[in-house]
Point group: D3
Chain length 196, copies 6
């Protein structure tokens, strides 16, 4: 009834063996950790220089220390990627969010309507700011920073929130441009409580 | 980190025992089949006359014979409910769609971007028509019917597609109005292949 | 100069004699009261099960007791149907509104811009809530209910307002889908003061 | 139940006797013809120099010879003024349209959805062009002129269509700015066939 | 690489010698002052009666006394014309603004995002009001006038602000309709400080 | 009349001497070439890891070989940054575009309405694709690639076009978030023909 599984990208996807050493190593690292290679790494490695910069930017925002938990960063990604209708990022980062927060419902809630998600008022303020950067960044003014401060966010936290929304604005557009397909593994990740 | 589970509705929810017999019976029937009572039945039973009409309309569209499979009807519901940002309907009908189609990825694909879903060209035309009825019904013209006919849909099929989109336009607004919360059971339904 | 009068629907319209008894009786009742059969009854009777559910829902919302006058319910219908650009509902319910409120100007005012209509501040709050349910129901939050309460509306009144907007969201889409044409009688109804 | 009749404008409205002679004469002329003074003349006469230019522009577009009938010019005004949600122009020019075209239903049809109005395909093309000038003039390109030519419109006709839409873009904004109220007489004009 | 310079309008442009005396005189006056004939005068003179009314309206708004400086009136024109994506008015009035305000950066700032321009809070309030009249005049209410009064604007100033936005709503649409091309001279005017 | 020159960013801006050596060197290189340090380098260097990734991405897209000229890449940046209302990028890249293309009018044309700019039909197709990636990337489908191919663009060119639009989607949001101010030097660059 449905068409056969699409390729993962409209563009050619490199073999791991053909990649520059640094990219290959970075990808093997992720594979070791996740158990599979997320398609975004292969799809963007079609252009090694861009792929390398993408990963560097990604790591600078998501691996750094800061006032946002790892789970909160993923909340921003899921909500803004849904606003941009990016299938890859909603599905892949939804999975990561479920794993980080051990909250199997949260990603689906955020993807449909961030106002209905089980988040704290502080997280709601964070998401409202992120959504404004995502969809109407030209209207950001001092009052938006003040609203974050009222919930205890520093201006550096505001940069984190906004920069994650901005970076995934790029990521979402690249995924939509290339027709990037999320790995099947992501759809189920973090949904079933692990039993020992 | 997240706020405690919300009640299922902003409005009081009746006890099964307090409901008129016909509504109670209808709900027990669903419970027997699904293993739990979907919250929509309880939330809308706050107003028995409206709840009764809702179910009658629902059944008239979803249980009737016709040119659309049961799975295709659910595809329409998921895609249009996502356009209306209705958490309840995306989650509940996403679950039903996965079960009907035995397609664990399809609901998430449709909820994010129906253009990226694993559907046939015929189903894509069906969804384009449904989305137009959902979001810009005043622009529906003869050319839209012609586009459906080109894929083998009859005008009665067009009514089915449009009427499902229209009815869930009502349903989505009621769920958003009442803050209806999807049952936790729905989030996982149809995601894991059943083993014998 | 203009094309000949269109049929009342893109779909076949049943003869009264061919309808199930309950629908025929309901329609004859309306005819007795109004002096003619509003086209919506005939157009939707093309599908008796759906038409029956439609009328039941309609009656559950418009004939019930409650905090809104009959005229206020029609105000909601006219304003939201105009937002959905539904010719049938604006014209038919505009007529009913004029008759109920004995206000020959009100329907036209509401159809163009509800902010400019001759309504009380309380009715304005009611219409603002209805318009939000109509056009952006996913953004409804507690503050919207609070705004209604400030004008003396109960939460049950809020349900009435929202449910009428939601139900006519369905009705408007069905009318736009079927190309439903308002009866000529409606255009003039309630415009000329009756003389004794 | 409704608030007392509003004044006709947020701004002071001059007495006829206090107006410059040319404006007074122009207004008396209209009054002689229509039986009353349309409020727009008084509201805009608050600024005689602007009012004079407004009337000169109005006359240059609506009284000139050309490929559009007087009724067709009013169709453009009603459809575009509805898109701008201008109560004054929809009601006043709806009345004039009904009188010119002897078509009591046409203005209401155009105000709700120009796609559903009883107009010829040529008039539909005219209205599509007008609506584009009204709402997205920056997207007007050669193809839009070609679409008009296919219906027999000259490029001078295209100017007429676009200029009427543009001029009422100004008029609608002035009416919305000043809160201009249509005369009660307009609401009924042209609705009842005159008997001899 | 780029196509040859376009003509200044999609429509025929009259020779000065062929124009009615009053229009010719008015245009020669501008030419004497500016050193060249702005294309808008020639493009709109294709229809002398409309061109005459256009200039009269223009002068009534821009040459009158009032609470707005000449520079502030041009700020309104640049910001709203950018919202309407009108190349002619952004470029021509951007030039005039630079000259009036001796502010070589201001026009470009306003054309991209009026929230980022080097203006006073009072001017910001003026521009917010103008942008609302430009893009959503049907939502103008008393609160908008109150916001202006809080910055010391009178209601007559509000009319000036709104009327300039409204008039350039017309002007922008005519320029977009006719494909009016700004004179090359405008692009550089007021950018380089004059040395003696 | 206008407020004093704003700082170049809402966030602290590092001294060149305090920057990591690689960033400092990169910035000194630009300074040597341009004669001044574009503010974006300093504003983003507040976060060296992100700034470094930003520059790497920027260089990967703008310095690479490919089917687009350097001027065409800047056209994409100006048009999409205007759609995102990003003052910094419109002004800074408008300057670079004027210099590359020796076309003093082109940047202003593209910033207001890319449909009115003096570009070739091939460049127009390029810009239409870029604008779609910028504003509605979820609707990109095979037909959009086909439209590019019809103008001789390869699929790798399509990646270039889309990736530049996507990357400046990030850049625009960061500039809007930080309130980044363009250097005054940019406003005049490339406007006056250099004399020997």
């Amino acid at each position: 009834m449905s068409k056969p599984p699409s390729p993962i990208s409209r563009y050619p996807v490199p073999e791991l063996a053909d990649l520059p050493a640094d990219l290959r190593e970075r990808i093997l690292e992720v594979q070791a950790k996740a158990g599979f290679v997320p398609n975004v790494f292969l799809a963007l490695a079609h252009r090694p220089a861009e792929g390398r910069a993408f990963m560097a930017y990604h790591d600078a925002l998501l691996l750094k220390e800061g006032g946002l938990t790892k789970g909160e960063r993923e909340m921003i990604i899921v909500a803004t990627s849904a606003a941009n209708q990016c299938l890859y990022c909603v599905v892949a980062h939804g999975a990561i969010l479920r794993v980080y927060e051990k909250a199997p419902l949260l990603a689906d809630q955020l993807a449909v309507n961030h106002r209905k998600a089980d988040v704290t008022p502080r997280q709601r303020a964070m998401l409202d700011f992120a959504m404004k950067v995502c969809s109407a960044s030209h209207t950001i003014e001092e009052a938006d920073f003040a609203a974050l401060r009222a919930h205890g966010f520093s201006d550096e936290d505001a940069w984190d929130i906004g920069a994650i929304a901005a970076f995934f604005g790029l990521s979402n557009r690249m995924a939509n441009l290339t027709g990037m397909r999320p790995n099947d593994e992501f759809f189920l990740m973090g949904r079933v409580p692990r039993t020992k």
